[in-house]
Amino acid sequence: MGRYSRIAVAASLFLLPVSVFAAGYGAAGCGLGSELMGSQPGASQVFASTTNATLGSQTFGITSGTSNCGDHGLVSMNKEREVFAQENYTSLVKEMAQGKGENLSTLANLYQCPAASHQEFGAMVQGKFDSLVASDQANATALLSQLENEITRHPALAKSCDIKLSALN
């Protein structure tokens, strides 16, 4: 019988490659509903949520953590742009280099730029890409602050967009 168990062990080894999981992307949410939120801020507000699809480690959170969550369990209105840029950074810089895309027009909307100006917004970020993403180490915060500078300097976008007013209407 000893041999059987060895064989069983050997057989189970063959099966292991199946358990190679995809990298987890489980973002931590802000919580939901009354009990979870309570009134205490901090860790209890966030529970690591996994989707059906992800197990284990989260590579991103709503990365900046609880400080971006309002006490109502959603992303704080004044942090919407930052959290969006951070979570979608790669998609965003890719679309900026291309001059258009869904993430880019979403960002334009977050700066209150009307739909009619989105093409101009795209052209501007593409043209100014060099300064928007200054190095390989650039991050979302730097990107947004550069972007705000460029919007302010742009004759048309400075008028049509609004870098002060955060969040969508």
């Binding site: 064989i7 057989a11 063959f14 199946v18 358990s19 999981f21 990298a23 992307y25 973002a27 949410g29 802000c30 919580g31 939901l32 509903g33 009354s34 009990e35 979870l36 939120m37 309570g38 009134s39 529970f47 949520s49 996994t50 989707t51 059906n52 699809a53 992800t54 197990l55 480690s57 590579t59 991103f60 709503i62 309002g70 109502h72 369990g73 959603l74 992303v75 969006f84 979570e87 950074y89 790669t90 998609s91 810089v93 890719k94 900026m96 280099a97 291309q98 001059g99 027009s105 979403t106 909307n109 977050l110 739909a115 043209g127 890409f129 060099d130 993403v133 390989d136 969508l168 209407n169």
Partner: protein
Amino acid sequence: MQPICLVVGLFFWFFFLPVTAHSEQKVTADYLAELQQQAIKKKLADERVWHLLLKYDKKLFRGMTSEADGMEFFNSPQGKTDPESELLATLSSFFIPLAKIAKGKEHPQCNFPARFKWLNQQLTFDPGRLEIQACDRLDRWMKALDPVGATLVFASYFIDNPASMFGHTLLRIDSRRTGSGNNLMNYGANYAAVPDTENAFLYAFKGLIGSFPGRFAIFPYYTKVQEYNNLESRDLWEYELQFTEDQLNTMLLHLWELGGTYFDYFYFQENCSYHVLSLLEVANPDLRLKDPFSFSVIPTDTVKILMAQDELVKQVIYRPSVLSQMNHKRLKMVDGEKRILRRLVKGEISPESPAFKSLSAPSQALVLNAYMDYLQYQSMQEKSNGNIKIPRSVLLARSRLPTADDGPADIITHFSSRPDHGHGTDRFRAGIGLNAHEPFLEFAYRPAYHDLMAKDVGYDKNSEIIFMDFKLRYYLESDRVRLDRVKVLSITALNPYDTLFTKPSWRLDLGVDTLRDRNCNYCNSVKGVYGRGISYRPDFFSPLLLYSFADLKTEFSEHLKQNFRLGGDAEAGMYYDVTENWRIKLAGSYQIFVLGESKRFFTAHFITRYALGQDLDVRFELNRYDHNNEGILSANYFF
């Protein structure tokens, strides 16, 4: 009637106890009693809406039981099993004075706003006698979400992760605030298991027996798009649903209530799809979405059930994964562009190289767009430090080229097809066959999911997952019923060779089989197979798929010398779609068993299938195992 009186009596007692002949409290208590009497008279506890809100379900032998497992979800200690006691206790809880609520806790009116809304509609609370509480956090939450629509989002199965083997659904809440064109900014309500293990098999087992808690969470939709579309490269299908604003409002209030509780997560029954359907039923109780499911609720079946409702689905939208986006661009390329892309990916050239610069500007843009998709996908696979980046030099080179003018003619290529157009996930099979000795009848049933001989509309073209497939044969002459095969779990993932990616194909087969190469009166063996291989499809939409595998194989049976055999096989085969409905498979293998009972032999298979409709096909197959031949004609019905 007696227990109810007792309960009512208890609440009277509860309210009278602290009373020092205070008239206001007397009024309150009288009003509560009055409401409770009305609720009993109107039989509110028997109403479907109440059952939906509290997740009551009629369970065999156990009567009415709520699926919610967190006890905070109930106001009455008997709430989990007694809808009426819960209803009376809920009414009573609405009367609790605000001063009695512990700091940091919400008033029950704010904790259970969907129950409050519905009971108020039924009983029309008198604000003069029941103090209506202000719910500040809830109001801000509702205001931020401000729903005008709901969209069911379907992610097809992801074969590399057992936890997502049968796909996933979540519900996107479309807000007035974000408006059209900002779907990424909407929130998604997601129900998922909170697992405590990373071991795939433990996960699967615990998932089956419901030992993980499942919870609802709410996320910005873009985090889900990043996860499914970009990290896992799964196409998403969005089903925009038709609801009134009042229905959506009720659904969100209910979702708020669910935030505080959990459910035992059952992989096949009370899973993500089941709970998403529950949300939709709360929004519109006239919908009966969960009733048709018996054994399992599989995401594919839920989209079909939505499509079957009158005017529920407004629109179906395809959201391609990052690799589908890349492949869409590759399809537009001429050979020279494809070659340059390949060399970029291999690192032989950079966007600064003359070879790249020799392309026209639009060609350069097209190639770099595809290359950036590739880099984005690749960088996300390396989960080292969370820095997902495309090198700045590539981005910069792209930014100096004009914006591609795709024009309206650029219709996005669909690399997957609508899941609701696919066959059902349950399958029943009936067949008649003949071997060298006698004719036989065969019957098989499996609850999930898809096999490579089935029509692949709505499913992945290159893989199959078969779960719990039981097949019986009745041999007519020897008058015997035999268990022919049980595929407990069988997965085949053919990843066709791609010049940019090398991903091996693999397969796994666990179950019971018949020792078909031997004449042992159809004796059974317990079998395990794992193998790796390569496969090839000439292009994305080619009807031809070639494959080969090298497998390790072990079988246990008392009919084998030493009761087992261990070895392997080499197999080569092909699938070919002659027409949309007609598929052929040819395969041959050489089997070598070296340990236990040693043996070498060939097998050969020819199978052809003709689909008569979305859910019905007929198949004819010829199989040869060593010297034993059989032929089978079968009909397969999916539901």
